[in-house]
């Protein structure tokens, strides 16, 4: 019996010691890479560039763009997703201003641009800091792609800061030369012109590298149908530079002071074909939400202001008397048939105000289907043409070249009478803005917003720019402010 007891005790003890191996408490996170994995290995840097491009894509195609277009009376809708209803309603004839409270619901229009721009900037800046050491080279196979990566990062800084310069009143200008951004002071006395210049300097630096080299970036970086060449990237950078200058003005007075010669210079080197990015559908990295919510059945329609451009006999704002059908627009412009769809009934909830009513929806992008997959024009050649035309008109006055640039869409797509260049400056500009309003829908997120404010056409109470997001101000220990400013 005693032996058995000992045996059983030994059994328990041996069990104990078998299992009592020392625990290894070092555990890796298999879900996310860390700094060393992402930025410590130069082979991984191209992936960061691709990610920064994708974040910038969200900046220009996210749902906040729908809200900007609604504020700019280009699109209309009564849904309050992204505060479309709130910020495009006009109780008592005055637009609701921006609620910049850190807890404001559905505030993508204020928050997303800022967050995405700085997320994209962070990746580009970190890479520029790494390769500012001449010893650090990035190889693709045996090819040194350091300069290609550098040019892309500079272009990303330019595109993001250009966006910030045109939408926000203030911006932290952070690039690879800033050692520790956390020590930066809040830019209280900054003018958005300074940010524009900062953005242009980055685009110029990128363009210089594109022009000095020949390469193609991987198609996956921007999900373009074909790999973009350095020449194509230079053209795209030039067109964006032109857009940023053209749209930087907050008022008509500022617009008169815009450096149109510089716009002309950039636009002359701009794109000669549409800049296309391929959408990959819901829940994927390349989804153009602006288009989805701007055109989908039940969601966005075209604002009555656009309809009245086609048919000046129609009011420029939808009547607030309970009218539900203004009838089809009477126009010679063929695009009313090819690009727009007349719908006699309303989707908008009348209880949320008649401001959101419209009888037209934009159908030009319908071939992409309801999930908006497939090639999507991200910047149209028409935009570059029209910027060049405007620059010509604003610097040397109307001429046949400017008329020809406007006619590219006016005649070819709209089948309207050609302009000759002998029209007055104002007539030419009206025709030009008509083209901008009708041709550039659902491309750049700030186009309609920028065009309306630089013509002083914003409805009373509308914001002319976005404040630094309230939730960012709160973290920066700055007072919350908004636009239009509180009285």
């Amino acid at each position: 019996m005693k032996t058995k007891n000992k045996l059983s005790a030994c059994f328990v003890l041996s069990l104990v010691f078998t299992m009592m191996a020392c625990a290894d408490l070092e555990v890796e996170n298999p879900n996310n890479p860390d700094f060393n994995q992402v930025l410590g290995d130069n082979n991984q840097l191209p992936g960061v560039v691709s990610g920064a491009w994708n974040t910038w894509y969200y900046l220009e195609s996210g749902p906040g763009a729908m809200t900007l277009a609604a504020i700019a009376d280009q699109l209309a809708g009564s849904m309050n997703n992204f505060n479309v209803n709130l910020y495009s309603s006009e109780p008592g004839g005055v637009r609701n201003g921006i609620n910049n409270s850190p807890t404001a619901a559905n505030n993508e229009v204020v928050n997303d641009g800022w967050d995405n721009a700085y997320s994209s900037i962070a990746g580009a800046r970190d890479i520029l800091r790494i390769i500012s050491d001449p010893e650090e080279r990035i190889l693709s196979g045996s090819t040194d792609i350091t300069e290609m990566v550098r040019a892309n990062c500079l272009m990303l800084l330019g595109l993001n800061y250009g966006y910030l310069a045109n939408l926000y009143d203030r911006t932290f200008m952070i690039d690879e030369t800033i050692e520790d951004p956390t020590l930066m002071e809040f830019p209280l006395d900054q003018n958005y012109n300074e940010v524009l210049e900062f953005a242009l300097s980055k685009l110029d630096a990128a363009i210089a590298i594109f022009n000095a080299s020949t390469f193609s970036i991987p198609g996956g970086w921007l999900n373009t149908p074909n790999a973009l060449t350095s020449a194509q990237l230079a053209a795209i950078a030039n067109s964006y530079a032109a857009r940023f200058i053209a749209l930087n003005a907050r008022t008509a007075a500022e617009n008169a002071g815009t450096d149109w010669a510089r716009v002309k210079s950039y636009a002359q080197k701009g794109i000669t074909e549409d800049f296309i990015i391929v959408g990959t559908g819901f829940d994927t990295p390349w989804v153009h939400q602006y288009t989805i919510f701007g055109t989908l059945t039940g969601w966005g329609r075209v604002d009555q202001r656009i309809v009245s451009l086609f048919d000046p006999s129609q009011p420029s704002s939808y009547p607030l008397d309970g009218t539900t059908d203004l009838g089809p627009a009477n126009t010679d412009d063929e695009r009313i048939n090819t690009d727009f769809e007349y719908i006699a009934t309303q989707w908008a909830n009348p209880e949320r105000g008649y401001w959101h009513f419209s009888n037209y929806r934009y159908k030009r992008l319908d071939p992409n289907g309801s999930s908006y997959t497939g090639p999507h024009p991200f910047m149209r050649k028409a935009e570059n043409d029209l910027m060049l035309a405007e620059a010509i008109i604003m610097t040397t006055g109307p001429d046949a070249t400017a008329a020809g640039l406007i006619n590219n869409t006016r005649v070819d797509r709209g089948q309207l009478a050609a302009l000759t260049g002998s029209e007055s400056k104002n007539v030419m500009l009206n025709h030009l803005f008509y083209e901008r309003d009708i041709e550039l829908l659902l491309t750049g997120s700030t186009i309609s917003f920028g065009d309306i404010r630089r013509r002083d056409m914003m409805k009373p109470g509308s914001p002319l720019q976005m404040p630094v997001p309230g939730k960012e101000l709160e973290l920066l220990n700055q007072p919350i402010y908004t636009f239009p400013p509180a009285e």
Binding site: L25, P181, Q346, I480
Partner: protein, 1022 residues
């Protein structure tokens, strides 16, 4: 150690005897007779007799039986010991095993350990083990945040001890650390639940026990008499229904020309006054269509047996809860359990095994924003949800409101989207205990908890072409997750008596391994209806422009820990008790510079009644304990994290430590007048190093969204009272009652950030939660805007002459009163922004639970009442209903006096407040609930014998109700509502909104409402 094994064989003698009941003198079978300090023992047989060999005449025998006072007798050379056992009025002599070094009588506890026995659980067996605790113990808050069938309530013990993490206590089931909650644990198997609240009591469990510990012990065969076989067959059948619905607006304000009926797709004009007082000619409250009483049943069989050296208990349970949603199959669960113990070598070696398997199948009803429960209450109520679709003749016409493309007929959604969850779980514990002597034993055990979860979320390609829904081509979602938690434990127990001193020592080692692995897949474009394998999906769509992407997602965690601890306890003449413990935990979840953490406790008690005789007081004890316990960081917290495509998420923190709660507890236990049993606890806990995800400014923060730091402290005060009383015992008439009370206050005391926002909000953006925490706040404060009600709220720029009170008491613009533009206005702060201030507090003033049992002969009536006083609820469901089509009954102006009628914009543009938090939607969440009610009749053995039935020991017939009745000022389905941990994935640890706490985040956001259940039950024991 082997030397120790061989010294204990001297002077063995055999003791035998008869154990009877003091109450009726009848023999008591199944009484445990154990040699004190060991696992060696026996039980009385069917005739109440026992026989046991003991090592010496100094040995002490411990006699215990549920409901009777445990008695200790020193053998003293006797060979026959007969005993009459008294009923345990005070329950003070119960044995507990949780939070203490070794099994300890409650009399000798220096800390507070709550215990619920089978007799309280079996009256109305809870649908799961968590619900069994509801309203039965002070300081235990059980919140059923989403009442869907199969959902497990959230449990919080005393105060919150974590902000970013969960408040879920550590759960141990038959020795196994549970890694997957309690929803799959059937309560018919439970013998006792022990609850250790607060850090002073839970220090033994170190860095896992900051939230306290719940220890569940299931039934074994060890309580039976030797040779006895017990068979229990229990069947319960009934139904569930929704107690109340949300009021729906029966009127509208659409202009409908004479002779026409309202059609939302045509009539897009509102009436001139915009007042919703035009009655719908057709009105359907869809809640009456969607909520449909469902059946409920449980079948349970348990067979247990005990022989001299072996006992076992096997059980199976089959439970079906249909829930209350039409077309839903609800929740079905099957469980099986085997518990077995075997003694060898004269009882020196005990081998013990517990195995549990469960499978739960759930037909999931999506809840929350945008779900069927959202559409249910915001669609205009003039449609027929049973109409057929014009497209294909299928039932439940999908489009009920052309103005709202996102809202589809909830019945269509439920009928055509099939979400099935299957959760399989197994828990195994294998242990061996060797008693070297009557004062030294070694225990080793291996425990394992496996869970395999899978979800199929399928929409066939017959889904109609709803705008914007990619599901038109069909959609298949698959998800699987496996969780494996393993523990290995070694405990060495020693106990010796030196004169008047009794001492105990435990040395322990605990090793933990945890693996979690999940992956998911979503694909579209089902080629053939009914074929849902990923293989059967096409990536290229019918239109060559369109690719239907397959979306894959995965997540994995590994956690390891090793812990060492020692517990020492001593007492002098059973009067003065002390207890000390120290624990050292190493965890892979701690930052690499802080891999180990230390916890400790020192506690003591004085049994005054042993020193002084006080009239009518049988027992009086004062306790004090100071101890620490903690919580481990979530898995991702310590790591620097980027997304794979270079996005920036979180900075890393190698210095991340455990959260630590330091609690000082004072307690009093008293038994008096032979019928009352009182426990009072007062505890103050300082929780430090709270793990918080702090947002970084996106601009100058280097692109990172957040950093995780030990960044805050919180102080909590807890006051608990429990009183149990045998009010009347007269012959066969007995009435006993218990009342539990608690009052809990928590406040932030330090925060290394100016603020944190937590919890749910309508648009779920990071850092926008309704709950606002600063260094001066109470955890649970809701912050938001307030509507103007008083002139004192106006800012100097706001001219008081322009404002006037309207009929609802709001201060509105004079120019708008009586017009379509009349609307409440939010107060502004001095910078002209909407004022952001405290609007509510979810912490109740106090909680009271009350249970009572009245029995007369075989008849008994049992009830549990749950009273929560105060504690606000944010009614987001109502807020959202104010906007969309104005469906809430509050907006129904038909029948309202003309001067009080308000236009629709009053609600949609005013009170709705653009869906931002505002005081108007904060409601008092007090409740009084009748949680459990049972009326039963028991035929006992003698009655049955008289009827000539010998083979049945007991028959019990009962009528049971759960959540039968509720009194509340709250206007939604139920103030017991929250959006917390159950709504967020375990892997979402990048923000503070991850874990969350259902007892804090009292937020009504289209949850599955709690329902009531009526059943009949029949239990037969053979």
């Amino acid at each position: 150690m082997l030397l120790l094994c061989s010294q204990s064989q001297a002077q063995e003698l055999t003791v035998s005897g008869l154990v009877t009941s003091a109450e009726d003198g009848l023999p008591l079978p199944g009484v445990n007779v154990v040699l004190k300090g060991t696992t060696q023992g026996t039980t009385t047989d069917v005739d109440g007799k026992y026989s046991l060999s003991v090592p010496s005449s100094e040995s002490t025998l411990v006699y215990s039986f549920i409901g009777l006072a445990t008695t200790e007798i020193i053998v003293g050379g006797r060979t026959i010991i007969d005993l009459q056992m008294e009923s345990d009025v005070t329950q003070l002599s119960e044995i507990v095993v949780t939070g203490v070094g070794d099994a300890t009588s409650t009399k000798k506890l220096t800390i507070s350990v709550g215990k619920i026995n089978e007799n309280l659980i079996e009256q109305v067996p809870a649908l799961n083990a968590a619900s069994a605790l509801q309203a039965k113990m002070a300081g235990v808050r059980v919140t059923s945040a989403g009442g869907g069938p199969g959902s497990s309530p959230d449990i919080r013990l005393r105060s919150a001890t974590s902000i970013a993490g969960s408040q879920a206590p550590l759960i141990i089931i038959d020795g196994v650390i549970s890694e997957s909650g309690l929803s799959s644990i059937n309560s018919n198997d439970i013998e006792t639940i022990e609850v250790v609240k607060g850090a002073a009591s839970s220090s033994l469990y170190g860095s896992r026990a900051g939230n306290g510990v719940i220890n569940i012990i299931t039934k074994r065969g060890s309580n039976l008499a030797i040779g006895q076989t017990e068979v229990v067959v229990r069947n319960e059948y009934g139904f569930s229904e929704l107690p109340r619905t949300i009021p729906i607006n029966t009127s509208h304000n659409r202009f409908v020309p004479d002779g026409q009926t309202l059609d939302y797709s045509v009539h897009s004009t509102v009436t001139t006054d915009q007042i919703m007082d035009e009655k719908f000619t057709t009105f359907n409250n869809y809640q009456e269509d969607l909520f449909d009483p469902g059946s409920f049943y449980t079948n349970y069989i348990r067979v247990a047996n005990r022989t001299e050296n072996t006992n076992f208990s096997v059980s199976i349970e089959n439970q079906q809860q249909d829930g209350v949603v039409f077309l839903s199959d609800g929740y079905a669960r099957r469980t099986a359990r085997l518990n077995a113990d075997h003694y060898a070598f004269k009882g020196k070696l005990m081998v013990s095994a517990s195995a549990y398997f469960s499978q739960a199948n759930e037909d999931v009803i999506p809840t929350g924003d945008g779900s069927v429960l959202f559409d249910l209450v915001k669609l205009p109520p003039n449609q027929d949800v049973f109409a057929v679709n014009t497209e294909d003749g299928s039932p439940y016409k999908w489009q009920l409101n052309p103005s709202d493309p996102t809202a589809i007929n909830p019945l269509y959604a439920i009928a055509n989207r099939d979400i099935r969850d299957v959760t399989k779980r197994s828990m195994v514990n294998l242990g061996a205990t060797y008693s070297f002597t009557d004062w030294l034993k070694l225990e080793a055990a291996y425990g394992r908890d496996d869970e395999n979860y899978s979800r199929k979320d399928i929409i066939d390609n017959t889904w109609l072409p709803i705008p914007g829904s990619i599901e038109t081509t069909g959609q298949v979602g698959r998800e699987t997750a496996t969780t494996v938690g393993e523990t290995f434990r070694v405990n060495l127990f020693g106990s010796r008596t030196f004169g008047d001193f009794s001492t105990g020592l435990r040395l322990s080692y605990l090793k933990e391994d945890y693996e979690f692995d999940e992956w998911g897949f979503t694909g579209n474009n089902i080629t053939f209806p009914g074929l849902f394998d990923p293989d059967a999906l096409q990536q290229a769509g019918p239109d060559s422009n369109i690719d239907y992407p397959f979306v894959l997602a995965g997540y994995a965690e590994t956690r390891r820990a090793e812990n060492y601890f020692a517990v020492f306890n001593a007492d002098y003449q059973d009067k003065y008790l002390i207890d000390a413990l120290i624990r050292r935990d190493g965890s892979s979840l701690f930052g690499e510079n802080e891999r180990y953490a230390t916890f400790y406790r020192l506690s003591g008690a004085w049994r005054i009644s042993e020193d002084f005789s006080i009239n009518n007081v049988e027992e009086l004890k004062l306790r004090a304990a100071y101890g620490t316990a903690g919580n481990r960081p979530p898995f991702l917290a310590q790591y620097e994290r980027f997304t794979v495509n270079g996005g920036y998420l979180q900075t890393g923190n190698k210095d991340l430590k455990r959260e630590i709660s330091k609690e000082l507890e004072f307690g009093l236990n008293a038994s008096f007048l032979d019928r009352f049993n009182l426990e009072i606890n007062y505890a103050v806990a300082n929780t430090e190093d709270l793990i918080l995800s702090l947002l970084l400014p996106r601009s100058i923060g280097g692109g990172f969204e957040a950093k995780v730091e030990n960044a805050g402290s919180m102080r909590s005060e807890v006051f608990e009272v429990s009183l149990n009383a045998d009010l009347v015992t007269k012959g066969s008439f007995k009435w006993n009652a218990g009342v539990v009370f608690d009052r809990i206050r928590s406040k932030m005391t330090q925060l290394n950030a100016s603020f944190i926002r937590m919890g749910p909000n309508p648009n779920s953006d990071r850092g926008q939660g309704l709950f606002y925490i600063t260094e001066d706040n109470v955890y649970g404060e809701m912050w938001g805007n307030v509507f103007l009600k008083d002139f004192s709220q106006l800012q100097p720029e706001q001219n008081p002459d322009n404002y006037v009170h309207n009929s609802d008491g709001f201060l509105v613009l004079k120019s708008t009163i009586g017009t379509v533009n009349e609307a409440p206005i939010t107060a502004l702060n001095e910078t002209g922004q909407p004022l952001y201030t405290k609007i509510g507090d979810s912490n109740p003033d106090f909680n009271v639970g009350f249970n009572t049992m009245v029995s007369w002969k075989g008849l008994s009536l049992y009830g549990v009442l749950d009273w929560k006083e105060g504690g606000d609820v944010y009614n987001q469901t109502k807020q959202w209903m104010y906007f969309n089509a104005g469906t809430h009954g509050d907006q129904d102006m038909s029948g309202v006096p003309q001067e009080k009628k308000k236009p629709s914009g009053y609600y949609q543009n005013g009170l709705y407040n653009a869906n931002n938090g505002v005081d108007y939607f904060v409601e008092d969440g007090s409740w009084l609930k009748l949680r459990e009610l049972a009326l039963s009749y028991t035929l006992n053995r003698s009655t049955l014998s008289n009827m000539g039935i010998d083979f049945i020991r007991e028959i019990r017939i009962g009528v049971l109700g759960r959540n039968l009745f509720m009194l509340t000022p709250y206007t939604g389905y139920d103030p017991e509502v929250a959006r917390g941990s159950s709504e967020t994935s375990a892997s979402a640890t990048s923000s503070n909104d991850a874990g969350g706490d259902a007892s804090i985040f009292a937020y009504d956001g289209f949850n599955y409402p709690n329902f009531r259940t009526y059943t009949g039950s029949l239990t037969i024991t053979f």
